[in-house]
């Protein structure tokens, strides 16, 4: 592996192509087959695969290990890393390790609070926050120094991602926070699932006004809905999610057996709309435990085939 070779995702984006990423949750177990099977479902449909880091604070196979498995299959992973579970020392060490294993993309997150997970009695860390993490990776990469200022013998190569939620409050502040992440060193941004297009457009408009879309690649989040129940659940129970009433109604308006189809239909419409928005450089598919649908959607949306890695 040549250290200077950039990530596939970075190349797709810098080539000005509409990128597609998808999410892939590692298993609650040690079996690598599961992650390989999931990877197989995504092969050819996406430019990179996000591997979550103990998502929703439930213990799973580590993100780094899962990334390595995918990498070995020839898929490009985006390693997610949360500040919830590691202090700054562990974070840096893991970044160096990940880089050494050929992982070239990182998505810096603060992580879901442990109260939502299976072990709410855990102590959290939150030594630094996600903006600090972005900045930390940036400094490691660009200056070749760790946080203490020590010169790293070989700096990690990472295409740095950060998350943004255009739907959380306070809305006015969301763009400021985006700018902050960009200033800290984010190369790309993956957003929370978009159902409320209107609000997303508004957010993008503000981001454009601030000139942020020139500085960063924004990938809009997409999650296909399976049922009315899921839509309702996401609307009510999932933090930071904005599922408008109209979407829930739409999901409920079709017979039970047709709901999944309707969900996919909504996705496709959304993707079509997103592609019209200036500054949106790609989508990020979060098909929760429904990876098989990603390929179908990508194809139907006319985003297939994906550009080949050089």
């Amino acid at each position: 592996m040549k250290p200077e070779s950039p990530s596939n995702l970075q190349r797709v984006l810098s080539d000005g192509k509409f990128a597609v990423t998808a999410e892939c949750g590692p298993p609650r177990g040690a079996d690598p087959e599961i992650i390989r099977r999931k990877g197989e479902l995504l092969r050819g449909h996406v430019d990179a695969v996000n591997v979550t880091d103990n998502q929703t604070a439930i213990v799973r196979m580590s993100s780094i290990a899962a990334c390595v498995h995918l990498s070995a299959m020839g898929l490009e992973p985006v390693m997610q890393m949360v500040t919830r579970d590691r202090n700054r020392i562990a974070l840096q060490s893991d970044i160096l390790g990940a880089s050494s294993l050929g992982i070239r993309n990182i998505l810096c997150l603060s992580g879901d609070h442990q109260t939502f997970g299976s072990q709410p009695d855990a102590m959290n860390v939150f030594d630094i926050d996600s903006v600090n993490l972005v900045h930390m990776v940036k400094v490691m990469k660009a200056d070749g120094k760790d946080m203490s200022g020590f010169d790293l013998i070989s700096p990690p190569r990472m295409f740095i991602g950060a998350a943004a939620n255009p739907f959380a409050d306070p809305f006015e502040y969301r763009v400021i926070r985006l700018a902050k992440k960009i200033d800290a060193g984010a190369d790309f941004i993956q957003t929370q699932c978009v159902y409320n297009l209107e609000r997303f457009r508004e957010w993008m408009r503000l981001a454009r006004e601030e000139g942020l879309t020139e500085k960063v690649h924004i990938l809009a989040g997409i999650t296909p809905l399976k049922s009315e129940g899921m839509a309702k659940y996401m609307a009510k129970k999932v933090a930071g999610m904005d599922v408008p009433e109209s979407v829930i109604k739409r999901m409920g308006g079709v017979p039970k057996g047709k709901a999944a189809e309707e969900g996919i239909g909504i996705c496709l419409e959304t993707i079509a709309a997103l592609r019209e928005i200036k500054g949106v450089h790609g989508i990020h598919m979060m098909a929760i435990e429904w990876e098989e649908t990603v390929g179908r959607i990508v194809e139907a949306a006319g985003l297939s085939p994906r550009p080949q890695a050089a």
């Binding site: 500040t83 919830r84 700054r88 603060s110 992580g111 609070h113 109260t115 939502f116 959290n124 939150f126 030594d127 630094i128 926050d129 996600s130 903006v131 600090n132 900045h135 930390m136 946080m147 998350a163 943004a164 939620n165 959380a168 409050d169 306070p170 006015e172 502040y173 400021i176 926070r177 700018a179 902050k180 200033d183 800290a184 929370q192 933090a239 930071g240």
Partner: protein
Amino acid sequence: MIVGKQKSIAEIREIVSPYKKLLVLGCGTCVKTCFAGGEDEVATLSSALRLLFKKDGRSIYIEELTVERQCEDEFIREAAVAISKNTAVLSLACGAGVQAIARRFANVPVLPGVNTTFIGVLEKQGLFTEECLGCGDCQLAVFGGVCPVSRCAKKLQNGPCGGSRIGKCEINPETDCAWQQIITRLTALGQLDNLRKYNPPKDWRTSHAGGPRKLVREDHVI
């Protein structure tokens, strides 16, 4: 003030059960204010314990006393006579008070009757909220007087997480989002620019990360 909550009767019963003569020692400052360890709570708890043990057919002698503060020698001293008459002390002070008593009276078991919960304020009747973590490096000037270290579930220093909704925190819809409050307040103060600045990782050495802390005032040491 330090906010605490009395332990459950079952737990207290467990820890006091080896002793025959017990001093229930209240503290008249913080824990009194949050109704965990003042004169009234001492009286109520003592009475409850007497009933409890009597019900079980056990006899226990319980003495009641409340001093102004269990964390200051001058007031601890006032308890010395009562302590010497009993085989154990059930302290209704915060953890500091319990340890201060333990340190001053080497041969007496000192048992905690209160869970020290946080440093907070009485927001309104019956509602105490945490306001400070004692991190040792106060940045409230930047945050418009609202502390993200104690009041944000993730101690975020650079803005709200994606879970903030209608001013509430994602982990509990009853909890106000600290960042929403910071933003509201800074907006009102016209200091929103504070938030555009990047806040570097916090130096936690002044907090618990640095181990038990000491504060030395050289000017007070002779």
